[in-house]
C-alpha cells in the first residue's frame, strides 16, 4: 500500500510541476503578447521604467564600483605573478562585459525591484484588487504585467551597460591608480580584445535576464496565495527563483554563444 501511495505522490508531484510550468509559460506568452497589442499602457510603462530602472541606478553604481575594484585588485595581484599586468584591462573588461555585468545587474534588480514587484502584485491579489480590475473588464495581465515586462526589457540592458562601464573604470582606478599597472596598456589591451560580439552578448544577456526576472517576479506575485503568509512567501520565491534562473540561464547562454 505504501508503495502505491508513494508512486501516487510522485506522480502527483510531477503532474503539478508540469502544470505549473505550463501555467508559467502561458503567463509569459500572454504578458508578452499584450505588451505588443493595443491599448498601449505608455504611462504605466514609463512609471515602471522609473521604478525598476532609474531608481535602481544608485545601487547599480555602488555594486559595479566595488565589483570593478575587487576585479582590479585580485586581477592585478594574480597577473603580477606572471608579469602580465598589462592584461589587467582585458581581464577586468571581459569578465564584466561577458559575465559579471549582466548577471550581477540582474541579481541586484531582482533583489531590489523584483521583490518589491512581487510584493506589490501579491498584496493586490490578496486584497482582491486584481479581481477588481477583471470585474471592470480590464485585463489585469495587460494592465499590470505587460508594462513591467517592457520596463524590464528596457531597463536591464541600460543598467547592465552602465554597470560594465563603471566597473571597468573602477578596475582601472585600483589596478592602475593604486597598484601601478600601466594605464595605457589597460585600455589598449581591452580595446584589442573586446569585440562587437562581446558588446552584443552583454546586451543580449541583459535582455533575456530582464524577461526572466520580470516574468518570474510578476508570476509569483500575481499568483500569491490569499493568506497572511502568501505575500511574503511569493516575494521570497520570486527572488530565489529568478536568481537561480539567471545563473543557470547564464551558464547555458555562455556555453552556447561563446
Amino acid at each position: 500500500m505504501q508503495v502505491v501511495e508513494f508512486i501516487e505522490r510522485v506522480g502527483a508531484y510531477i503532474l503539478d510541476s508540469i502544470l505549473a510550468l505550463g501555467n508559467f509559460a502561458l503567463f509569459l506568452i500572454r504578458s508578452l503578447m499584450y505588451a505588443v497589442l493595443p491599448p498601449y499602457k505608455l504611462r504605466l510603462t514609463l512609471r515602471q521604467i522609473r521604478i525598476i530602472g532609474a531608481e535602481s541606478l544608485m545601487l547599480i553604481v555602488l555594486i559595479s564600483t566595488f565589483t570593478g575594484m575587487v576585479l582590479g585588485l585580485q586581477g592585478y595581484h594574480t597577473l603580477h605573478l606572471f608579469g602580465a599586468e598589462d592584461s589587467l584591462g582585458t581581464l577586468v573588461g571581459l569578465a564584466l562585459v561577458r559575465e559579471l555585468g549582466p548577471v550581477l545587474a540582474a541579481l541586484m534588480i531582482a533583489a531590489r525591484a523584483g521583490s518589491a514587484m512581487a510584493a506589490e502584485l501579491g498584496s493586490m491579489q490578496a486584497s482582491e484588487q486584481i479581481d477588481a480590475l477583471t470585474v471592470m473588464a480590464i485585463n489585469p495581465v495587460q494592465y499590470l504585467v505587460s508594462p513591467r515586462m517592457i520596463a524590464g526589457v528596457v531597463s536591464f540592458p541600460i543598467l547592465t551597460v552602465i554597470f560594465n562601464v563603471i566597473g571597468i573604470w573602477a578596475g582601472y582606478a585600483v589596478g592602475c591608480g593604486l597598484l601601478g599597472a600601466s594605464g595605457g596598456a589597460y585600455f589598449n589591451n581591452l580595446a584589442a580584445n573586446m569585440s562587437r560580439h562581446d558588446v552584443a552578448l552583454t546586451l543580449y544577456k541583459a535582455l533575456v535576464f530582464g524577461v526572466v526576472v520580470m516574468s518570474v517576479c510578476c508570476y509569483k506575485g500575481y499568483h500569491a496565495k490569499r493568506m497572511a503568509t502568501g505575500v511574503s512567501r511569493a516575494t521570497t520565491e520570486a527572488v530565489v527563483l529568478s536568481s537561480v534562473l539567471v545563473l543557470a540561464w547564464d551558464y547555458f547562454m555562455g556555453s552556447i554563444l561563446l
Binding site: 504605466l44 522609473r50 608579469g83 541600460i158 562601464v165 571597468i168 584589442a192 573586446m194 562587437r196 558588446v199
Partner: protein, 168 residues
C-alpha cells in the same frame, strides 16, 4: 495622473545615460567602429605567426597605429592583413616583427621604419619580416646547443635561423 513630468524627465535622463554608457563601452573602451574605418590595409608574410589574433595591436615605437585584421595561408607562409590608421606613413624598407607583451602576454606586430624612398599604400606588402618568437622552440634549441658542447657560433647561428629575411 500617474506619468508625471517628473517621471518622463527621469526616464528620459535614464535612457540617455544608457545610450551614453553604450557609446563609451563600444567606441571608447571597445574601439568598435560602425563606419568603415578611415585607414588602409597592408600585408606582410611571416614564416610563423603563432599566437597572433585578429584585433591585436600594430605599433611603431610602442605607439598603436593599427590592428591585425586576419591571416591567411599563401605559399606556405602566413599572410597577415593589417589595418593602418590614416595619416601614418610606412616606407617600403620597413621591417614588421611579431613580438610578445611579457612572457605570457599576447602577441603584437611591431613595425620598424626603414629609409625607403616610397610610401606603402593600400594593398602593398611589407617585404622584410621577423617571425614570432616561439618560446618552446627556443628552449628546445637551447637544450640542443648545450648538448652539442655549447659552441658560441652555433648559438648565434640558431638565432639567425629565427630570422627569415626576405629580400628581393
Amino acid at each position: 495622473m500617474y506619468a508625471s513630468r517628473t517621471t518622463q524627465f527621469i526616464v528620459g535622463l535614464f535612457a540617455l545615460l544608457g545610450i551614453a554608457a553604450l557609446a563609451i563601452l563600444s567606441f571608447r573602451l571597445g574601439k568598435i567602429s560602425i563606419l568603415p574605418t578611415p585607414g588602409y590595409v597592408i600585408y606582410a608574410n611571416f614564416d610563423n605567426i603563432s599566437g597572433l589574433k585578429p584585433g591585436d595591436e600594430v605599433d611603431i615605437a610602442g605607439v598603436r597605429i593599427g590592428k591585425v585584421l586576419g591571416a591567411s595561408l599563401s605559399d606556405n607562409q602566413a599572410r597577415v592583413a593589417m589595418e593602418i590608421d590614416k595619416g601614418v606613413q610606412i616606407d617600403n624598407d620597413a621591417i614588421a616583427s611579431i613580438l610578445s607583451m611579457g612572457i605570457i602576454g599576447g602577441k603584437y606586430v611591431s613595425i620598424q621604419l626603414g629609409g625607403g624612398d616610397k610610401t606603402l599604400s593600400n594593398g602593398d606588402i611589407i617585404r622584410q619580416t621577423q617571425s614570432a618568437f616561439v618560446l618552446e622552440n627556443a628552449i628546445g634549441q637551447f637544450i640542443n646547443n648545450i648538448g652539442q658542447s655549447g659552441g658560441s657560433k652555433d648559438s648565434s647561428s640558431s638565432q639567425d635561423s629565427q630570422q627569415s629575411q626576405q629580400k628581393k
